[in-house]
């Protein structure tokens, strides 16, 4: 990445808006676990510079939105260079690429080369490419088909009864009330 010009004077947008964009970018790059502050600052300023240029042509979008959009473009370009021949679609490139950087220990090992598509260390490329993981071993599909269990005559009768009772809740509760009523009547007759 070329030396970053420290001077930053956007032609559009307010100071407050650009400050907010700066703070957001700072948080965003920190979420990549880049603990090198100098590198983070470099990235922020580079992204803001790109965002300022983009904002000049489209002022409807906020500087914050432009900044994150530019960060995304930079990421795509960088990952595109690393995974150029792996035939990944856009979504796979972004998701798998980010994950690859984490799994290869990129934030700690190569923080200075993050988003720097001009300087790609070979060991970083190899580590990131080999870090594409699968969530399971190759499937070997088996058939697991339930076999019918012959439940026998008793179960058939019980099934019919439960089926009938299940379809007629009034009948079910009537039987229950009938039993309770009969017990109570019996008790009454005994104690009267």
């Amino acid at each position: 990445m070329e030396a970053v010009n420290i001077q930053f004077a956007p032609e559009t947008g307010t100071e407050e808006e650009w400050n907010e964009a700066y703070a957001r970018l700072a948080d965003y790059f920190r979420s990549y676990q880049l603990h090198n502050r100098i590198r983070r600052t470099q990235l922020i300023l580079e992204t803001l510079r790109r965002a300022a240029a983009a904002h000049k042509t489209d002022t409807k979008k906020t500087p914050t939105a432009h900044s994150i959009e530019q960060a995304r473009f930079m990421l795509k370009e960088w990952l595109g260079a690393i995974y150029s021949d792996m035939n990944l679609n856009e979504s796979q490139l972004e998701a798998g690429g980010r994950l690859g950087f984490h799994l290869s220990g990129g934030p700690a090992r190569w923080p200075n080369f993050f988003l720097d598509k001009e300087n790609l260390p070979q060991d970083m490329i190899e580590a990131m490419r080999s870090a594409v993981r699968a969530s399971g071993p190759g499937m070997q599909v088996s058939k697991m088909t339930p076999r019918d269990i012959d439940l026998g005559r008793v179960s058939e009768v019980a099934e019919d009864t439960f089926d009938t009772l299940g379809r007629h809740p009034i009948l079910r509760y009537s039987i229950l009330i009938g039993i309770v009523g009969a017990v109570l009547t019996y008790l009454y007759l005994l104690f009267r």
């Binding site: 907010e20 957001r24 948080d27 965003y28 920190r30 979420s31 990549y32 676990q33 906020t62 914050t64 939105a65 994150i68 959009e69 995304r72 979504s91 796979q92 972004e94 998701a95 798998g96 690429g97 980010r98 994950l99 950087f101 984490h102 799994l103 993981r133 969530s135 399971g136 071993p137 499937m139 070997q140 599909v141 088996s142 058939k143 697991m144 088909t145 339930p146 076999r147 019918d148 269990i149 012959d150 439940l151 026998g152 005559r153 008793v154 179960s155 019980a158 099934e159 439960f162 089926d163 009772l165 299940g166 809740p169 079910r172 229950l176 008790l187 005994l190 104690f191």
Partner: protein, 712 residues
Amino acid sequence: MSTPAAPAVTSPISTGMPPQRIARMRRATFFSFVGLGTIVGTWLMYVYLSERGMRWSEWGLLAVFTPLYYQLNVGFWTALFGLWLMNRPGHDALDLWRTLKPEDHQEAITASTAIIMPVFNEDVTRVFEGLRSIYLSLEQTGHSKNFDFFILSDSNQTSQWIEEEAAWLELCRQLNAFGRIFYRKRRKPINRKSGNVSDFCRRWGKRYRYMLVLDADSLMSGGLITSMTRIMEKNTGIGILQTFPKQIGAETLLGRVMQFAQALYGPPFMAGLDYWQCGEANFWGHNAIIRLEPFIKFCALPALPGKEPFGGHILSHDFVEAALMRKAGWAVRLLPTNRGSYEEGPPTLVDMLKRDRRWCQGNMQHFWLVFAKGWHPMSRVNFIHGILSYASSLLWFFFLLFTTFLAATPVPQLDPQAMQAQQILLGLTATLIFLPKTATLLDEVFTGRLFKPLKMRLLTFMSSMADTVVFTLMAPVLMIFHSQFVVYTVLGKGVRWVTQRRKAEGVDWAEVFFTFWVVCLIGIVWAILGWFVSHAFLLWISPILIALFLAIPMAIVVSGKRSGHCFGFFLTTEETEPPSVLATMNDNLAEIKGRIHLPPELEKHHGLMQVCLDPYVNGLHVSLLRRRKSIDVSRSYLNEIAQRMIQLGPQSLNAQEIKAMIHDTETVTDLHYRLWSARDHELAPFWATAIRQYNLAASSPFTHTLAQRDLL
């Protein structure tokens, strides 16, 4: 995985299947004692009741008494046979441990084994730290090469799901176990846990010879796992080998009492069960190893006729799978183990009842299967015992009702023979209840199986006295609830599949009050009734009524964390000398517990927050999602709910909406950038806080639920 599919086994081989001669002899002996005890008890009851002829209510009493007495006898003789086996000088002819010679333990294990852990909205930290400990323990054996681990998730809470993915990745990274530990999430959790396992079998079953099933709270030592695999290799006629999972990790009084009781009384019961179950033991759903080929071929579960709760999908699948395995000709064996196989129990009484509600329905469903054709007779016995374990509560309740009724309509002047029968029956019943416990306790005091120091043995003795009080107070309350569960099941009231709470989070007084006030009321009403019926009867039934009356304070006390630990009560060997697999897990859990947490709102939606904000977690989730050509919902709908989530926060969306969004790769990627692109005032307060605090709290996004350990 180096070893390919299991060799073709089309017919069972007898190694591991106990010889019929021994099995028959053992069962004949055992059930003769049980039968004799039941007949004697029933006859004594009949003599007592029939003094002046049998009334309807007396026949009713006898009818409910007989199965209750049978069950009591089964427990009694199982424990006694177990104690005899534990103390006899000679070896058990069927002891599976003896099939392994000392040199076998040094041989390489060539069989491929999948260790699977089905999870459903479980505590992510506990699941993955448990898995880490098992993995490390297995590595220490030096024979872990052919073991793979699978976390089979059916979690339907988004945050939980994301946290599982992140924990999986970090665990693999820390253990250098990519390609050894796999994570699979089902989009639709069809047929619950058994469906989850079946799905694994269909996808990967052919790659493995054995499958070791764990529960989310299971813990097993590497030594035991390798021994189990070796036993399966040596005994090719065994289809399922079940261990005895001991309870660990309890913090509440209830949990520690259950844990202690299981440690003390469990081994004789297990030895006794092994004695008479022989090759027709039960599968308890976890901490067991299964021969995959016959399991896939013969143990797929059909739906039961009719609708839930009696029909439909089989809830308690394990008993049925064991019966199907046995029906296909493979043995189902119990491996009595003292160390190496662990699980956790429910922390509070309410949690225990919630679990029992599910188990009750599952066991009652087996009613259909009792009469099905083709089962081994012992499988039918296992089903009946399962049903009885809950139905007996209703029978006991009826027994007490009949007794109350008989006390209210007394027969004048008992003749001496009836009085004598009553006294013998009382003595016999007390013996059946207390002798196994007393004998086990004496066995411990004399042999020191649990603890060698005399002081510890005396503490065990005192703890045993104390647990009698707890169980005496709990039993009538459980009777009322289990009876209610049985009646609800019969009336067609099903249960929801909910996650079991496994750790104590304090006593919820309101929940306890609203759960148990009816039980208290039953106790009071019954006592008033008893007062009018007869003072002598009231005195006789008072232990039960006092327990019912005290249900609320009892539930609060047993669910609390004062369990006499500091005085040395209810200690188990796992507490005093934790095995390395447990110690590793406890250390890691303690490290995580000591961390500073995010604000509660952010903790609640932590997984969702991570997948939206963190570039790596977002990348991981999108990478793991299966790409679909078409989506179930329209793109504009997904955009609309994503916008709502950005502006109003996750609480503005229901679970279905969040799920729809998080299942779509494009939306998840897009959401990440939209959130970071929005200005502060365009964001819901939740997101504004999350963006500010996320980087401060998370040094590494993947270790939020996992201990930070050096890479292997």
